[in-house]
């Protein structure tokens, strides 16, 4: 404690509100510079303190609870060189930010001639920071067109477990000098070190946006024909539509799905962005209309209310699958008859599933392993992002991770003392 105080960094005692997935740290530090983070980590190394970095805490419950947690490093007060938190170079379409900045801050920055610029990365949890977005590799609807954080990140500064400050990339988009450490830290769940700064490429904010929204019959309900595989028709409808929309030359930016309950209808929403969004929405509307009966699809200048949100918070799974298998992926969720809500970026092969929060450990485990088996057969997988402590004890969060042995070796090199968020990721990493 004294040694930490001697760093000059603001330190306070932790309370229950600081708990990380149910584990309360002893102390919380509020560093203001990358140098201060390095000082904290050097002291932590000397005293064998386990450290967890945290931003706003919107996703701090994701991942397994840390095996131990002495010090929480709160990135709230981090600055660039002790001054500002955002340095925007509009002429270069680049922004450098502190890790503690809410990612939503970068959704609209002033550009030249009155135009706006944005980090084209939707963040489904409002308030989530840049650091947390990178560490959990979370992304929203427009991943279809712009990719995820790793595709937009062009430079990063991180502090390793021993206090070493390392920078990679830079402030130019085109750059192949050296290894891309920033990418390595994407999805790292705080287990490799603390991300303190990030540099992103920006995009011009599109002049117009249109959403094409349509209701589809449940892919878990029998189609009109009946027969031994009665849901084949509705499943093929989803898969066919997703494939058709994703390959449209109208170039949609996002293709999202919301399915509140397995036997109810599902909603498909497609986003087009650009000066000619209105005109481009029409062929997409007609494409959907050609597939479905009833009212067809309608075009709106507003997103549906569920757009860029997660289907639940307490229990949350992430499904990955080849997008053309969307119908079968949905059936896998419905197969156990649980009222789970499904939402996400169907054309990118990423869906989030919220099973009922009251589910007990055994039921949840059975559900996860059943969906995981089915998705495994489709060439996909399932991870459990959020789960309450009790069922969390028994549920297998990550499933098979092909490169786990290599990830372990990376962890051993970066954090040989296992002090950075120990145990939060797969295989005890």
């Amino acid at each position: 404690m004294d040694a930490l105080r001697r760093t000059g960094v603001t330190i306070r005692k932790a309370g229950p509100g600081d708990a990380v997935a149910g584990v309360t740290p002893r102390l919380v530090a509020l560093p203001e510079t990358t140098g201060e983070v390095a000082a904290l980590l050097r002291v932590s190394a000397e005293h064998d303190l386990a450290v967890v970095p945290a931003g706003e805490g919107t996703k701090l419950g994701w991942g397994a609870p840390p095996e131990r947690c002495d010090l929480l490093i709160d990135t709230c007060c981090l600055t660039l060189d002790g001054r500002s938190t955002v340095e925007h170079a509009p002429g270069d379409l680049v922004v450098r930010v502190s890790a503690g900045v809410p990612a939503a801050t970068l959704a609209s920055l002033p550009g030249p001639s009155g135009l706006r610029q944005e980090l084209a990365l939707d963040t489904p949890l409002p308030g989530g920071t840049v650091g947390g977005t990178l560490a959990t590799a979370i992304a929203g609807p427009r991943r279809l067109r712009y990719g995820t954080a790793r595709d937009l990140l062009i430079g990063a500064t991180v502090v390793l477990a021993d206090g070493t400050i390392a920078t990679s990339g830079g402030r130019v988009v085109k750059n192949v000098a050296g290894y891309d450490l920033g990418k390595l830290f994407c999805g790292s769940y705080g287990t490799l070190g603390v991300i303190t700064e990030a540099i992103f490429r920006l995009h011009p904010v599109p002049t117009a946006r249109r959403w094409i929204v349509a209701t589809l019959p449940s892919p878990a309900a029998p189609g009109a024909g009946g027969g031994p595989d009665a849901t084949a028709g509705p499943r093929a409808l989803v898969a066919g539509l997703v494939t058709g929309l994703a390959s449209s030359q109208a170039e949609p930016s996002a293709i999202e799905l919301d399915w509140p309950a397995p036997h109810g209808d599902l909603t498909l929403a497609v986003l087009v962005e650009g000066r000619a969004a209105e005109e481009r929405a029409l062929p997409l509307r007609d494409l959907i209309g050609g597939h479905i009966l009833g009212d067809g699809a309608h075009v709106s200048d507003r997103p549906p209310p569920w757009w860029n949100t997660l289907p639940g918070e307490e229990v949350l799974l992430e499904l990955r699958f080849p997008p053309a298998e969307a119908g079968d992926a949905l059936r896998a969720v419905a197969a156990r008859g649980l009222p789970a809500r499904v939402r996400g970026s169907v054309a990118s092969g990423v869906l989030h599933v919220a099973p009922p929060p009251a589910l007990g450990g055994p039921e949840l485990s059975a559900f996860v392993s059943s969906v995981r088996d089915d998705l495994g057969r489709l060439g996909g997988g399932v991870i459990v992002l959020a789960v309450p402590p009790e069922p969390g004890r028994t549920v297998e969060r990550w499933g098979p991770v092909g490169a786990l042995p290599l990830m372990r070796r990376i962890k051993e090199r970066f954090d040989p003392g296992r002090r950075m968020s120990p145990g939060r990721f797969a295989g005890g990493i």
């Binding site: 085109k174 192949v176 481009r280 990376i410």
Partner: protein
């Protein structure tokens, strides 16, 4: 390493690859002595031509067992000596691994072996209306495995991104001979992203799952002629500042135009001190609007001639001069160095002026051809290799250009890679701590340092070594550049 220590590995290679896939004949070995950067040469001790991931893994395991360094090579078109062989090592050539294993249009992906050429992927799906987006200028011959190693870009990466944005998964052989899959769909560290662009130092890609992109409905190319690069540069800034993201913006200066005209008679507007090629792609309505804007901006920035190409033949004519530029300078200079550096787009005018000053100070002509949209310069430093001292002066100018790139907050390489050519410049961009941290990644993948040793990093520490206490100031901070941003 004395040659005889390779006797046993070579015997083993012949055993499991067959004698026809193991080259030790000195004459044939010389074919492989360099890649596209021809002034670095080294004849490998042995070349192997595996046909499968299992064979690559078996070769690598033998290398690991005997402590023999190995280098992977695709088509050998790299421009930084990344595939320069080791005289004491094995060169693993992927030219017999060139099958397209599957094309899955419904999921917009294809799985290919590393020796498949970049363009072959596009050719396999073009008729169905798809293509593979990264398009390095060597795309007709360069291999996708090499693209993965170098994180290759191309003229159109301004809008469409690099190899790392278009590879969904890799099967790799680690430097210890394990076959591992790295996938964008896996949770955890983005090892796929770290591997791509690691220049063969983390292992060898044996299968590549690429994203296929739907061909745009419309592609329109505009050629604009200006009296000089300054006005052309203004147009570039105004286009980007105007919220338009073309798929490519290329610029050539007067000397580069002169060379291209001499070589391929591309008939660019007479009297042009600079030409700008702006390519727009996407839905028809968007392209039409953007074309109007770009045309207006070019006129306002002083373009005195504008040409629009809307079909493939016209487009090829506009690109002809640009694509020939590197080779074309051979017409106006006996020897030249191709440089590759990046500056923030807004620094282009100042950096071009500084290059011009350098050129005059040292009496060395520099032709500028560059991807203006992303600030990626390709200065061609011209000299007469028969003139005493000219080569050294050209090297000096070429190096000073990289210094300029770093000074302005850019990079020492935008797409050609570090390889052997630029490892000595890495310390200008990165601190010892940065490089030591990168070395941790290297050690995790390749603890014995056998995979393409001597590339990318200047004299790395051995994996067991503990860094000394060094709290030096970052070179960018020391020079005040980190604050400048």
């Amino acid at each position: 390493m004395p040659a005889q220590t390779l006797d046993e590995p070579i015997r083993r290679f012949r055993e499991f690859l067959g004698p026809g896939s193991v080259i030790t004949d000195p004459v044939r070995l010389r074919t492989y002595e360099c890649d596209g950067l021809t002034h670095h040469r080294a004849v490998p001790a042995v070349v192997v031509l595996p046909e499968s991931a299992e064979q690559v893994a078996a070769v690598v395991r033998v290398c690991d067992e005997h402590g023999v360094p190995f280098v992977a090579r695709g088509a050998g078109t790299g421009l930084s000596g990344g595939a320069l062989p080791r005289t004491d090592g094995v060169l693993i050539v992927t030219s017999r691994m060139r099958r397209i294993l599957s094309v899955d249009l419904a999921n917009r992906r294809a799985v290919v072996e590393p020796g498949v050429t970049n363009l072959a992927i596009t050719e396999a799906v073009r008729d169905q209306g798809y293509y593979y987006a990264p398009d390095p200028s060597s795309q007709q011959v360069c291999s996708i495995g090499g693209n993965v190693a170098e994180n290759s870009g191309g003229a159109h990466c301004l809008k469409h991104g690099f190899t790392v944005n278009h590879v969904l998964a890799l099967e790799i052989v680690t430097p210890q001979g394990e076959i591992v899959e790295l996938s964008a769909a896996d949770p955890g560290y983005d090892l796929l992203g770290a591997f791509i662009g690691s220049e063969g130092t983390l292992g060898i890609a044996t299968k590549v799952t690429v994203r296929l992109t739907r061909a745009p409905r419309n592609v329109t190319t505009l050629l604009a002629a200006f009296d000089g690069v300054e006005r052309g540069g203004q147009a570039v800034s105004a286009i980007i500042g105007g919220g338009i993201l073309p798929s490519a913006i290329e610029m050539m200066d007067a000397l580069a135009i002169e060379a291209a005209e001499a070589a391929v008679a591309c008939s660019y507007p007479e009297g042009a001190g600079a030409v700008l090629i702006v390519e727009l792609d996407g839905p028809v309505e968007e392209v039409a609007h953007e074309l109007g804007e770009v045309t207006r901006i070019c006129r306002e920035s002083g373009a005195f001639a504008l040409r629009t190409a809307a079909d493939p033949a016209e487009r090829a004519a506009v690109w002809k001069g640009r694509k020939s530029a590197f080779a074309a300078v051979g017409r106006i200079s006996p020897a030249y160095i191709v440089q590759d550096g990046v500056v923030p787009r807004t620094a282009l005018p100042e950096v071009l002026a500084s290059i011009d000053r350098l050129s005059r100070e040292h009496g060395i002509r520099v032709a500028n051809v560059f991807h203006a949209g992303d600030g990626n310069l390709h200065p061609l430093v011209l000299f007469d290799d028969r003139e005493p001292g000219a080569g050294e002066r050209a090297e000096l100018v070429s190096g000073r250009i990289l210094d300029l790139c770093v000074e302005y907050g850019g990079s020492i390489t935008g797409e050609h890679g570090v390889g052997v050519d630029k490892s000595r410049y890495m310390t200008k961009m990165f601190s010892d701590d940065d490089l030591d941290t990168m070395q941790l990644v290297r050690c995790a993948f390749d603890p014995r340092g056998l995979s393409n040793p001597g590339k990318v990093f200047p004299t790395p520490r051995l994996c067991g070594e503990v860094p000394g206490v060094r709290r030096g100031v970052h070179p960018l901070v020391e020079s005040g550049r980190a604050e400048q941003f």
